[in-house]
Symmetry: C2
Subunit: 343 residues, 2 copies
Amino acid sequence: MEIKKSSVTIADVAAKAGVSKTTVSRYLNGKYEFMSENSQKKIQTAIEDLNYRPNHLARSLRLSKSKLIGIIVADISSPFSSILVKGISDNCKKYGYNVLIANTDNDTHKEQEYILSMIDQRVEGLIINTTGSNDDFLLQLLPKNIPIILADRPIFPTAFDTVKTNDHQSTIDTVVYLASEGFKKVGYFTEPIKNIGTRIIRKQAYQQACIEKLNITPQIYEIDVNADICVEKYIRNFIESAAEEPRVIFAANGVVMLTLLRAINRMNLRIPRDIGICGFDDWPWAALIGPGITAISQPSYEVGTECVKQIMSRLHRNRKAEPQVIKLPTKLIVRGSTKLITD
Amino acid sequence: MEIKKSSVTIADVAAKAGVSKTTVSRYLNGKYEFMSENSQKKIQTAIEDLNYRPNHLARSLRLSKSKLIGIIVADISSPFSSILVKGISDNCKKYGYNVLIANTDNDTHKEQEYILSMIDQRVEGLIINTTGSNDDFLLQLLPKNIPIILADRPIFPTAFDTVKTNDHQSTIDTVVYLASEGFKKVGYFTEPIKNIGTRIIRKQAYQQACIEKLNITPQIYEIDVNADICVEKYIRNFIESAAEEPRVIFAANGVVMLTLLRAINRMNLRIPRDIGICGFDDWPWAALIGPGITAISQPSYEVGTECVKQIMSRLHRNRKAEPQVIKLPTKLIVRGSTKLITD
DNA sequence: GTGAAAGCGCTAACAT
DNA sequence: ATGTTAGCGCTTTCAC
């Protein structure tokens, strides 16, 4: 069980076991069928004695298979992404893959750099939570014939496999639910739409619900989550527009939700008496704030699981099928923040 | 700018440019000093025409340098870890390194597997947020002479570079602060200590502060964050033990804090009137719950930054210096949850 | 200034 | 059942 400094190779094992490199390689790859028990034993002993470990790099180069999946996320510090990454990496492990990870900070240029860099590293597949302003670049990747799965954020028209939540439907359902609770005005607060698929879909669903289902005018506020003052202004604005009617805020994602709650807290507004609030992302603290925050729970871990399933299916089965969009169900968790108080 | 399917190699570029592979390689590595301008131009053109990208795998194999850093975290879905990972990956990028990541779920066996697997992939360094029950295994890695940095969780005695927060001192300071606010009983709630360095240090600091500074008996509750009922029982227990005195809970980390807040919420206890609470990890929602939760803010991103600095210094400078422990300062953010209400 | 050739550690025809 | 040999794509002596 000695530990060697410079690395032990298959040749060392072969020499020690008195067989050829080929036989050792066969042994390592589990091709025991035509190998004497004796050889197997000798090789096993040699491996243990030398504390041999295969060089993954050499193997990858030879096979052009790195057993690596690349993950590129817009912001790994958001709970959605970190749980997504957990889902991906847990599942990759099951298939014997490791994961390379990169964080783009929603920067298009970084996204491109990282994608190329990962391809240079010969990842076998790429799971991308795209910044959304990179469609052309992504489309150029198509001929490279490397499986690419978009996580959470689709691009239009669909050119890649995509795993996301059914946010269109759940946005509509939520708006309808809010009306059924007695709210007369629903203000939609979102980060700047840019070209981010998820933001586009949710916004459109909100508009559609307002017009087709509730017959009210959509009120959309694009906020910068880093400019607290402006956020307060928009909230005040929305409240004034709603005069004496019951009003509720719909937050387009968890980050927006947090920003709004912070502002509401500073403004000393009471939830839901002064203003109702709900929105995407049921993060662990949602139940603890005020009367509990009504939230749409997204299965981020499962999005990760499906991404990996999809990539494996591309890798091992139908490499050339039509791109698929997989939509996972969300769940509306109703809490006090949307229970109208009438007194 | 054609896009080729099968990959273009240095040989293709050489052929197209009418030079040798050697010259192309020199060009790629910026060794222009003894190369004709003409060759440079021809090579550059060939690279663009063929859309050549170097094969990182081959390069790594040849140089035994993968330009890869491995990160192994106990739970990537916790905010502490995900921000840590962000800090690490952002900084690795600066040095031209990419990161491999793995999530152990606090499972010793997985930790071992991943570490070995990453070494097989020839990562140049490893940043480990160890499960804490793996000291012997880790120590065996020492002779391999691959830089290993422990993030957040130290092992004893110090055998590896470690980057952590100054949690010993900040725990003591916090306990003293609580006393200064008028609290007479401080209950310490932690996950099972196991052999996790951070948990040991904080618990000891708490005990030390109680005994040496406040002259009160430490009250330590080890809770299972997945067993809500038991948590309620312990809280009730602590409250009863404190009879009519002002009492406050100290949560050993953010996960414990969340669990306790959930229980307190279910039990309809008022913060801080029925019970004060504070603890480690100032997560974004801390200001929004009840009167605001007093919390110790840890610089997780900077822990990541320091880990990378340290690993680079090992890689490029003093490979064989004594292991260092770097402690980053925390900050106590005082909010309403520890402001005693006397009426 | 440039190139030929060896080799990083591994696998897979193709022998035998 | 096992070994010989030729690469995977790259870098680097060493020679010219």
